[in-house]
Every structure is written in structure tokens, then in C-alpha cells.
Amino acid sequence: MEHLSLSHFLVVGGLLFCFGLMTVLTRRNAVAMLMGIELILNGANVNLVAFNHYVAGGLSGQIFALFVIVLAAAEAAVGLAIILAIYQMIRTIDTANIASLRQ
């Protein structure tokens, strides 16, 4: 075992990102998609904080991550409100059925 280094954290962040991406791309449930987005954001956060700790000094990474969290929360709120509204309307949140922009 080597020292705990930046790479470890980056790998973890990357894995989180990939899982989140996979979720977004493969799930039909809108809420699951949202969950995937959260995972992506978290993966990005991990990277940010890791870099902040190992490479850059100061707090910029952490502040950045903080704002990400805030905005993620806001976006989750609005997104879920929309999903709920859609659900009220058509009683399903299967994105396959919500393709009204389809040509």
C-alpha cells in the first residue's frame, strides 16, 4: 500500500462520475436520472476538494464545492417539483413517454 495520494481521490471521483453518467443514460425513471445527476455532481465535488487539498492552497476548491452543493440542492428542488407536476399530469414519469419534443 502506498501513501494516500491525489490519485486515489481522483479515481473515486471518476468512478462516481461514471456511475452517475451511467445512471442518467440508462435509467428511464426521471427521479433516477436526478439521482444520477447528484452522483455526477458529487464526483466533481470530490475532485475539487481533492485538488484543493493536494495541489492548490487556500479554500477555493472548498468554496467551489460548497456552491456546487447549494446549487445542486436548488436544482434538485426545482427538478423534483417539475417531476411531480408531470406526474400529476400524465401519471407516469417514464421518460420514454415524455418525448413530446420528438419530431
Partner: protein, 757 residues
């Protein structure tokens, strides 16, 4: 006797400016009556029509007399009046002018045509008085005179041919004047078609002559003929010493004769007649397909004369031509048109005289025609038909004359015949009018006491035609037959036939007997005995009217013509009587330069032959008198019963018309039908094929346009639509798809970047 000229030099030409007026006046009359005639007649009556027509004739005759006077004032060798209007056609060796020329022969013809023409116009005033198409008749008459004058006065073959065709046309128009009757219209057509056949021969002869003048044919080793033209524009200088009119000092003259192909009569005459040009020698020795060129030319030209002057075998139109009004028969078929053939042969005497074969041919045909026509005339009942066959027969005599080389005699007979035949025809017209358009002699008779003037003039004309010395016919006929007998140099088919002359004489004498017979038969049947008034041979009802003498316009003309027939004897008194050449012969001498050698016979033979001629006429007269005087003799009927079969054949004109119908006419119709089939099937087939091919191409073009061109356009449109349809599927409306796309793109970029680095 030799009729050689002292010198045979080129003609001296006297230019005269007013010759064109002679044909112009009748043309003017014709044009006025054609364009305005119907209207004029309606507005002013018939008077103005005949005034225009007769006045134009009189003016024409007057100018002719002026020209005649001028001609008489010139010395013999210079009697060639010429008037050129303008050049119609000039192309290489061919030069055609609209030009008129009068030499003595032409002058005689012009006076005959205009003089007798005027008389017949006057006659027509009375004869056609009741016809509504009065204006048309006089228009046609004037047109005919115009064409005839062109024919006679033409300076070259082309103008003459124009007139030649014109008289053919006018004869058609006039014969078929009452065209509403199909039989009359058919007669007109027959005349025109038969004429046309003759014209074809004429043109061939003309072309051969033209080519013969312009070069020579040689037989190449391959058996073909090669034509070698002579150099153009050759000229031969003629130097002649001429004795002047006052006889003392010889006049040294230089003149130039152009040698080469030409249509001009004078140039033709000069080339052939003047020995130093060598043209005559060349033509004499020229052979074409083994026959002498001149013989072929002469025969072909004579074919034209055969058609126009109704000789064997093209005479069939003339009897049918009696369907036209009587003045037409008198003018055209007695005095003028039918004489065109004789005139033509006389005009070209120097050509014919060079070829014994042509001469023999002309004379023989003339003799046979004379005999045949006379025989048919024996038994005809229609008075006009009798006269028609008589015309054919007399034309035969004229051709005997010009055939044996007695050119002036033929022309003289033309002159006398014009007078007495016109008198006979117009007399018959007068008779027909008096009997209310009855033409069958069996229904006439005894007209002498009703129509004395007509009877007397008819009698004198019969005397003339029968050949009694007191009237003109004797002199001309006698001269012709005497010369025929004295002509040993004729040939048949290239072989000399010295016996042909006497044979023709024999035929002529027999024909003369026959002529006297049937003419007096017609006279006795018509004018003596009792008026049968419709009670003819097989008719039982009477018409109940008495004939009366015709009006003055008719009888005056008859008197003039009969007198002319008698007085014409004066200008032809034979040398045997007066020890001088006959006046007419001397007059016509400059026109007839041909040297024809007749056999010399003692003077007493000539007297003897004259007596034989008179006797022949007397025999014929007596027979007719015996059989037909007063119509009382039963002998004609008995003879008819006895020789019924022979009589039927002759009466039916030897079935010549029927033979022609079965062979030539049917053949032509069959040929026409075949050609029509060819045209409708083959020619039209080819045309239709072209049409079909065009349609096929058009369809092909359309298909190309529809499928390929439009297809390409449609292809573009359709592919755009398909592309759109395909690309539309990208817009799924699903987030995942878009994300996929974005991510895939980003990955590709990164990977590329990564890998390339």
C-alpha cells in the same frame, strides 16, 4: 420544175415597229370581254360585246393590210418584216425573244386568219344571238385569234409553240362551249388530249433539232451515243454578190450568219440554207440510232402536225369537235387551227426537203388520211360530220402537197380550202339555224327554195371543193397532185421509193372523186327535193314550220366567202396556162427556199393530168346527182341493203374510236390506276412511315423527359425527403439520446486528442 433561188444568202430583215399590234387587238378584246363581259352584257346588252370583238378583229386586219402593203413595196428578197419586243429568256445557247416576224408565208396566213376571222365574228353575231353566254363566246373567239396569230407570226419556235398550245386550249374551250352537256364536254377533252399527244412529238422533234444544231452524236465503241457540242458563237461570213432590183450593178454584200443551236426561224433558215455554213451537210450525215437525224426530226415534228391538223391516226378529235357551235367549226376546224400543221411544215420546208424519208412519210400519211376520211364521209347523215371528214380529207391533200415538196401548192390549197370550207360550214350553220338546230340531212331537203342565198353559196363552194376549174379548189388540188406524181425522190424508212409519187397521185385522184361525190350528196340531200321537215329516214312526226333565209349578217358573210373561193383561183393560175409562175407561188418564193427537184415532164402531160382531175370530179358529181337529186331515187336505199355489212363498218368510222377506247384509253386508265395505287401505298406509305418515325421519336423524347429528366428532379426531392425523415429520428425528444450524443462526441474528441498526442 426547180424552185431554186438564184442565190441562197441570209435573209435581209426589215424592222417594223407595229407588228405586235396585230395580235394585240384580239388579245385586248379577249381581256375586256373576259373580265367585264358578263357585267357589260347585263348592263348594255349584247351589242357592246360583239362591237368590241368585231372591232378588235377589224383593227387587227387593218394593221395586217398595212403590213401587207409595206411588204409589197419591198423587193422580193427583203420581204421579212420583224418586230422584237423584248428578250424573254437568255441562258447559254438558248435565247428566246418575244418577237414577231412576217415573211410572205406568214403574211398570207395572217390575212387569212384575220380576214376570215373577222367574217366569222360577224357571222357569230347572228348565229349566237340567242345564247346567254354571248360574252364568253366572243372572248374565246378573240383569244383564239390571238393564239393563232402568235403561232403564225412567231419569230421563233417558242412563241410559235405558245400559240400552238394556245389554239389547242381555245379549241377545247370553244368545242366544249356548251359544257353542261357531258357529251360536248367530252368532245372538248378529246380534242385537247389528242392534241397534247401530238404536241409531245412536236417538242421532241424540236429538242432533237436544237441539239442537232448544237453538236453531233458519235457512236462510241460501247454502242452508246456520245454528244459532242460544237464551239459556241461560231460565225460564218457570207459574201454575196447580189443583183439589185434595177439589175445593173451587182451589189457586194457582206453579212454574217451565226452558227449554233437556236430557236429562231430566221437563224435556223440561214444556217441550213446557206451552203457555206456546212450546217446542212452536217445535219444530212448525222445519224441517230441508225436513222438519219433529219428524218427523225421531220417525223416527230409531223407528229405534232398530225395532232393539230387531224391526220391519221390522231384525227379522231375533229369529227367529235362538231359538238361546238358552227362558227367554231368554221373558224377553227376549217380555216385556221387545223392548218397550223401545214403552216409549220411549210415554214420548215428547208428541213423537210433535206430528208426524203420525212417527205415520204408526210405525203403518205396525208394521202391515206385523205382517202380514209373521204370514205367515211360517204355515208354520214349529220351535215357537220360530212364537212368534218371533208376537212380531214382536204388536210390530207395539203400534207400531200407539202410532203412531196410542193410547198406553195400546199399553202395555196390551205388558202382556197379556208374560203370554201368556211363557206360550207357557215352555210351548214345557216341551214341548221333555219331548221331549228336540226343537223340530220335526212330531215332536210328542198331548202333551196326557202334559202336561195345559202343554196347558191353552198353550191359554189361545192364546185370549188370538187375541183372544177371555175373555182379555186381545182388549181390548188391539181398542182398538188401533179407535183406528187412528179416527185421521184421520196423515201420510205430510208429506202428510196420512186413509186411513192405516182401511188400518192392515184390515191389523190380516187379521193378527189370521192370528195366530189359526198359533197354533192350533201348538197342534193339538203337543198333539193322536198322539205322533209323532220320526216327523215326513221322519224314520223313533222315539226310544222317552214324554214326561212337567215339574217343579213349571215348571208353576207356567205356571199363574201363564196366569192373569195372563186376569186382565189386567180392567184394560182398554173404556168401551163399563162407561161408565168402563178402569182402566189412567186409571192411565197422567199419563204420557201428549199431546193426540191421534181421530175421533168412534157407540157402535154400536165394538160392531160388536169383533164383527168376534172373528169374525176365530174364522175363523182354525176354519181351523186344520180343517186341523190331530189331525194327520189331508190338506189341509195337498195345499195345500202345490199352492202349492209360494209356500209355499217364505214358508217361507224371503221370503229377507230372504239379501237382507241379499248386500247389506248383503257391502257391509260389502267396505268393511271396503277400509279395511283403506287402513290397511295408506296409514296404515301413512305410519307406515313416518316410520320410514324417522327411520332416514335417524339414518344421517345417524351419518355426520356418524363422518366429520366423528371425522374432526376424527383429523385432529388425524394432523397431530400428521405434524408429528412431519417434525420428526424435523431430528435427523439428523449434526454438520454441527446446526452448520449453529447457524451459520445466529447469522448471522441478527448480520445482523439489523447491518442494523437
Amino acid at each position: 420544175m426547180e424552185h431554186a433561188l438564184q442565190h441562197l444568202g441570209p435573209l435581209a430583215v426589215t424592222p417594223v415597229g407595229y407588228l405586235w399590234l396585230i395580235p394585240f387587238f384580239p388579245l385586248l378584246g379577249a381581256v375586256i370581254n373576259t373580265t367585264c363581259g358578263w357585267w357589260l352584257q347585263r348592263k348594255y346588252g349584247k351589242r357592246i360585246i360583239h362591237t368590241i370583238a368585231v372591232a378588235s378583229m377589224v383593227c387587227s386586219f387593218a394593221v395586217g393590210c398595212v403590213a401587207f402593203a409595206k411588204m409589197l413595196g419591198l423587193p422580193g428578197e427583203e420581204r421579212f418584216l420583224q418586230n422584237t419586243l423584248w428578250t424573254v429568256l437568255a441562258a447559254g445557247p438558248v435565247q428566246v425573244d418575244l418577237a414577231f416576224a412576217l415573211d410572205p408565208l406568214g403574211m398570207m396566213m395572217v390575212l387569212v386568219v384575220t380576214g376570215i376571222g373577222t367574217l366569222i365574228h360577224i357571222f357569230s353575231v347572228g348565229y349566237m344571238a340567242e345564247d346567254p353566254a354571248y360574252w364568253r363566246f366572243f372572248a374565246y373567239l378573240n383569244l383564239f385569234i390571238f393564239s393563232m396569230l402568235l403561232l403564225v407570226m412567231g419569230d421563233n419556235f417558242v412563241v410559235m409553240f405558245f400559240g400552238w398550245e394556245g389554239v389547242g386550249l381555245c379549241s377545247y374551250l370553244l368545242i366544249a362551249f356548251w359544257y353542261a352537256d357531258p357529251a360536248k364536254a367530252a368532245a372538248g377533252m378529246k380534242a385537247f388530249v389528242v392534241n397534247r399527244i401530238g404536241d409531245f412529238g412536236f417538242i421532241l422533234g424540236l429538242f432533237l433539232l436544237f441539239w442537232g444544231l448544237g453538236g453531233a452524236w458519235q457512236e462510241t465503241p460501247g454502242g452508246k451515243l456520245a454528244y459532242q457540242p460544237i464551239a459556241a458563237g461560231q460565225q460564218v461570213r457570207i459574201i454575196a454578190d447580189r443583183v439589185a432590183a434595177d439589175g445593173a450593178i451587182p451589189i457586194h454584200e457582206e453579212s454574217v450568219v451565226e452558227v449554233g443551236p437556236t430557236f429562231n426561224f430566221r437563224q435556223l433558215r440561214d444556217q441550213v440554207v446557206v451552203q457555206t455554213t456546212g450546217v446542212a451537210q452536217r445535219l444530212l450525215h448525222q445519224k441517230l440510232f441508225g436513222f438519219s437525224l433529219l428524218a427523225i426530226v421531220g417525223i416527230l415534228l409531223f407528229v405534232g402536225a398530225m395532232g393539230k391538223s387531224a391526220q391519221l391516226p390522231l384525227y379522231v378529235w375533229l369529227p367529235d369537235a362538231m359538238a361546238g357551235p358552227t362558227p367554231v367549226s368554221a373558224l377553227i376546224h376549217a380555216a385556221t387551227m387545223v392548218t397550223a400543221g401545214v403552216y409549220m411544215v411549210a415554214r420548215l420546208n428547208f428541213i423537210f426537203a433535206l430528208s426524203p424519208t420525212a417527205m415520204g412519210w408526210v405525203a403518205l400519211i396525208g394521202a391515206l388520211t385523205a382517202l380514209l376520211a373521204a370514205s367515211i364521209g360517204f355515208f354520214q347523215y349529220d351535215i357537220k360530220k360530212v364537212l368534218a371528214y371533208s376537212t380531214v380529207s382536204q388536210l390530207g391533200f395539203m400534207f400531200i402537197g407539202v410532203g412531196v415538196g410542193a410547198y406553195w401548192a400546199g399553202a395555196y390549197h390551205l388558202l382556197t380550202h379556208a374560203f370554201f370550207k368556211a363557206a360550207l360550214f357557215l352555210g351548214s350553220g345557216s341551214v341548221i339555224l333555219a331548221c331549228h338546230h336540226e343537223q340530220d340531212m335526212r330531215k332536210m331537203g328542198g331548202l333551196g327554195k326557202y334559202m336561195p342565198t345559202t343554196q347558191k353559196t353552198y353550191l359554189w363552194a361545192c364546185i370549188a371543193i370538187a375541183g372544177f376549174p371555175i373555182a379555186g379548189g381545182f388549181y390548188s388540188k391539181d398542182e398538188i397532185l401533179w407535183k406528187a406524181f412528179s416527185q421521184p425522190h421520196m423515201a420510205l424508212l430510208g429506202m428510196p421509193a420512186a413509186w411513192l409519187g405516182p401511188l400518192i397521185y392515184l390515191i389523190g385522184i380516187i379521193t378527189a372523186t370521192g370528195t366530189a361525190f359526198y359533197m354533192f350528196r350533201s348538197y342534193y340531200m339538203t337543198f333539193t327535193g322536198e322539205y322533209r321537215d323532220g320526216q327523215g329516214h326513221d322519224d314520223a312526226h313533222a315539226h310544222g314550220h317552214t324554214p326561212k333565209e337567215s339574217p343579213l349578217s349571215i348571208t353576207s358573210v356567205l356571199v363574201v366567202l363564196a366569192s373569195g373561193a372563186v376569186l382565189a383561183s386567180l392567184i394560182g393560175l398554173p404556168a401551163a396556162w399563162t407561161n408565168q409562175p402563178p402569182i402566189l407561188e412567186h409571192f411565197l418564193e422567199p419563204s420557201l427556199p428549199a431546193t426540191v427537184h421534181f421530175a421533168e415532164h412534157p407540157r402535154w402531160m400536165e394538160w392531160a393530168f388536169q383533164i383527168i382531175g376534172v373528169s374525176a370530179g365530174a364522175i363523182g358529181w354525176l354519181f351523186a346527182r344520180f343517186l341523190y337529186l331530189d331525194g327520189k331515187s331508190p338506189v341509195p336505199a337498195q345499195l345500202l341493203q345490199r352492202w349492209k355489212r360494209g356500209w355499217t363498218v364505214v358508217y361507224n368510222k371503221y370503229y377507230v374510236d372504239e379501237i382507241y377506247e379499248a386500247t389506248v384509253v383503257r391502257g391509260s386508265l389502267v396505268l393511271a390506276r396503277i400509279l395511283s395505287w403506287i402513290d397511295s401505298r408506296l409514296v404515301d406509305g413512305v410519307v406515313n412511315l416518316a410520320g410514324e418515325v417522327t411520332r416514335l421519336f417524339a414518344n421517345l423524347d417524351g419518355a426520356i423527359d418524363k422518366y429520366i429528366v423528371d425522374g432526376a428532379v424527383n429523385l432529388v426531392a425524394n432523397s431530400t425527403i428521405a434524408a429528412g425523415r431519417g434525420l428526424r429520428r435523431v430528435q427523439t425528444g428523449r434526454i438520454q439520446t441527446y446526452l448520449y450524443g453529447a457524451l459520445a462526441g466529447a469522448l471522441v474528441v478527448v480520445l482523439l486528442n489523447f491518442l494523437i498526442r
